[in-house]
């Protein structure tokens, strides 16, 4: 959101903060857009203080369903997803190595034969 908003957007180098700042000082359109962006950011930050009341029966339902405490990982799905990703990557790496080794062995046996 810190970029440019007017027709000059492609002509002012984005990696030169001083050039961007200088442009913004002289461009009303960019100033207005920046102000709107700041307002959006402030609005988003302010949302953190707004609470929607939980449904009236939520607490009772939770307390009625309390089972045993087992110190299980409450984020186990996240852990499982990460493990599955690593397993898939490892499987792919192993398959690639096997294929490369098989190719090398085939070339070697052809050279011998």
């Amino acid at each position: 959101m810190r970029g440019l908003f007017c027709a000059l957007a492609g002509r002012v180098p984005g990696d030169r903060p001083a050039a961007l700042a200088a442009h913004r000082r002289s461009c009303l359109r960019c100033q207005a857009a920046t102000a709107r962006d700041h307002a959006v950011r402030r609005g988003l930050e302010a949302l953190v203080d707004e609470l929607a009341p939980a449904p009236p029966g939520l607490k009772a339902q939770v307390l009625a369903r309390l089972g045993r405490q087992d110190a299980s990982d409450p984020r186990r799905d996240l852990v499982a997803r990460a493990a599955a990703r690593y397993a898939a990557a490892a499987g792919l790496a192993v398959a690639t190595l096997v294929a490369l080794a098989a190719g090398a062995a085939r070339r070697h046996s052809r050279a011998l034969g």
């Binding site: 959006v40 609005g43 953190v48 707004e50 939980a54 607490k59 939770v62 309390l66 409450p74 799905d77």
Partner: protein, 182 residues
Amino acid sequence: MTAGEVQRAEEELLARARSGDREAFGDLVGRYQDTVYTLALRLVGPDLAADVAQEALLRAWRALPRFRGEAAFATWLHRITVNTAWTLRKRARRHAAEPLEGDFEDRGLLPERAGELAEVRAGLSRAIAALTPGQRAVVVLRDVYGWSNAETARELGITEVTAKVRLHRARLRLRSLLEAMR
């Protein structure tokens, strides 16, 4: 009651709940159910929010003995809620055979149903609701709750680069949605 006394009372409740005191946990639920529900509402919309909040609080109860207080209890609960929201959202989508992310968000968060959040920010809330679930999660965690990119990526199970890209797109889309509403 001073802030220090409130803090001490909460620590006492936590210690009791950690050792299996259901009444103490009930008090904690009473204190945090609105924040958990609000986060769930922002992440998955009104259809699933109550289920997510309930499941997150149950997971927190089960896991309480492993809570060591490295982070604030509210932060810990938020992490569990994000993870639960993601899991239940996927499960609900699978079971209801909803094929598209856009389809999911549009049905769950029609503007007239987003009124559970305060009216003052209704426009912003409607715009957030119109984002894709992935964009919404990132913008809510980063811009509303002030999480870092690394934390957001870790809790959503995505890379930091993906989180940054989603955030950028989400902010652009929010801007255009808000401009269209004016």
